[in-house]
Symmetry: C2
Subunit: 315 residues, 2 copies
């Protein structure tokens, strides 16, 4: 950092996942028009990767039931990416049917988490992955991968780099070139993130790595910093820190997009995204969701919002 010893990137890519990971963990459902309005605001702000939704069973995740409609309303920008989550062939069919070009498939690094989440062991997912990858390629859809619980599992506890690499290898085998390491329940710590990212980058030099942190235990931005230092430059974040953790009532969700953008701006790291526009979008989202969102900058404002009065002694 600061030009002495520690590596920091000149720019990073921030992927907005609030419409998917954020909303999925909220009770309040947004209307399709509201999602579209937010998505348009993201684009106006300069966001170049948006996770639009997921093609899952609408009964299981009603918040995502209108993903087709949201996707069809997008006014696509040049060089922007609109990705969706798919869980199976049926999801991929739905994605293709509405014109999706980028689909993400998630496999857990933890067997227990995978079993609890999808009632199938990782090996079954590996098989499905092969079929999905062929099917996606045949229909001109780029498949990316996500490894959930990559930094810890709420059932198994610690997850070894070996397990993460095992899943990454399966993705690589079928031609997936972009993999997200997901800290699904906010268990990652900076030392681990740094070591994991270095190791994965060395083992899989052809892969573009993405980091997906939750701020569940307050380490979200510290983990981003560690990831940056290990050479990763793509980070998921959710507007307002929308979302939560299904295992911890009251806990915060993804790292907040505005907080990440603000930190980058303060550190002189380019994101290409207009922070003020994203704060405005977060305020609107907060109004619609109907409760306070966990994002810090949303409450405190930017560093550059200077004040004029001061009443108290502080330190």
């Amino acid at each position: 950092m600061g030009g002495r010893n520690v590596h920091l990137p000149e720019s990073v890519v921030v992927c907005e996942v609030g419409l998917r990971d954020g909303l999925q963990n909220e009770k309040t459902q947004l209307r399709t028009e509201q999602k579209s309005e937010l998505l348009e605001m993201f684009q106006e702000a300069g966001v170049r990767i948006v996770e639009v939704g997921s093609f899952v069973n609408p009964k299981a995740v009603p918040q995502m039931a209108d993903t087709e409609d949201v996707f069809r309303r997008i006014r696509p920008r040049e060089s922007a990416e609109y990705r969706v989550l798919v869980l199976n062939a049926k999801g991929l069919d739905r994605a293709v049917a509405c014109g999706v070009r980028k689909a993400k498939f998630t496999i857990s690094a933890s067997r227990t988490h995978q079993m609890k989440n999808a009632n199938r062991p990782p090996e079954a997912l590996f098989e499905q992955l092969g079929e999905l990858a062929s099917s996606a390629a045949a229909r001109n859809v780029v498949l990316s991968g996500a490894i959930s619980t990559a930094f810890g599992c709420p059932f198994e506890g610690e997850i070894s780099p070996e397990k993460v690499a095992g899943v990454a290898r399966e993705f690589e085998k079928v031609g997936v070139r972009e993999i997200s390491l997901s800290d699904t329940t906010g268990m990652a710590n900076p030392r681990q993130v740094y070591a994991m990212c270095l190791e994965m980058r060395e083992r899989f030099p052809g892969v573009v790595w993405n980091l997906h942190f939750h701020n569940t235990r307050g380490m979200g931005l510290a983990n981003v910093l560690a990831g940056m230092q290990a050479g990763v430059t793509r980070f998921d974040a959710s507007l307002g820190g929308l979302g939560g953790c299904p295992f911890a009532p009251g806990a915060t969700g993804n790292i907040a997009t505005e907080d990440l953008l603000h930190m980058c701006a303060e550190m002189g790291i380019e994101t290409g995204i207009d922070l003020d526009r994203m704060i405005a979008a977060a305020r609107l989202l907060q109004e619609w969701i109907g409760h306070d969102l966990p994002g810090a900058v949303l409450k405190a404002g930017k560093n550059s919002d200077l004040h004029r009065t001061c009443e108290k002694n502080e330190n």
Copy 2:
């Protein structure tokens, strides 16, 4: 980090400032017995530095009016430190009268902040500092220093290392050997913290540096990480993240002690403090204060609190 390239300490010292900086920014006043009970819990948990209160005008800061009483009730532990804030000779007299051995004096790196806060320019404080230092030494009280708004001022904006060094030099002149860099309103970013700490350590090799972060914009633990990487090993934190920011309603206060301890534990950095006991203390404090505290671990639990069921698809 991770043994490759990036420096991390084997152990750090965590200073509990909740009874002072935390309570000072809360409307709810704790009773003296409650403060004493918390302080005893800190000691049982292994906390070795506690900021007990401040000797200020009780009309201006009623939360601190009982600092004498709290101090007198301490059952001191060997090698533990109980520090208080003093603003002037009168405060030092009060401190001496109740047996304080360590007093902290704060000067702002920002002229505007100093003027608004104490209606006196930094130079006036420098003069006062000299008198206080002599008086403290004569009465066997160790004086430490704090530089507020060291990473940014809510009125002036950016603060140069030159300004911070200017204040540090005054402290050094009068024999102060321990200085805290305070991010009073949560404006620090990791790149800045790293550079500032390296520079101060180089300029003042005889000084023991302490870092005091607020999590106002979510960067608290990222700043700790950057401070550690720059070789600083003393960090203030407030139980539950108690407190707030007088300039930003709803914004969070100091970094939460439990969150800092949890991150250190996960990273294998020794603190000598029992996290579970501090979480228990934070729960009690939350009950007494009567509203949710911002600490993340307080809501989410530790990484090691594993769960048994899982209902939802997540990533």
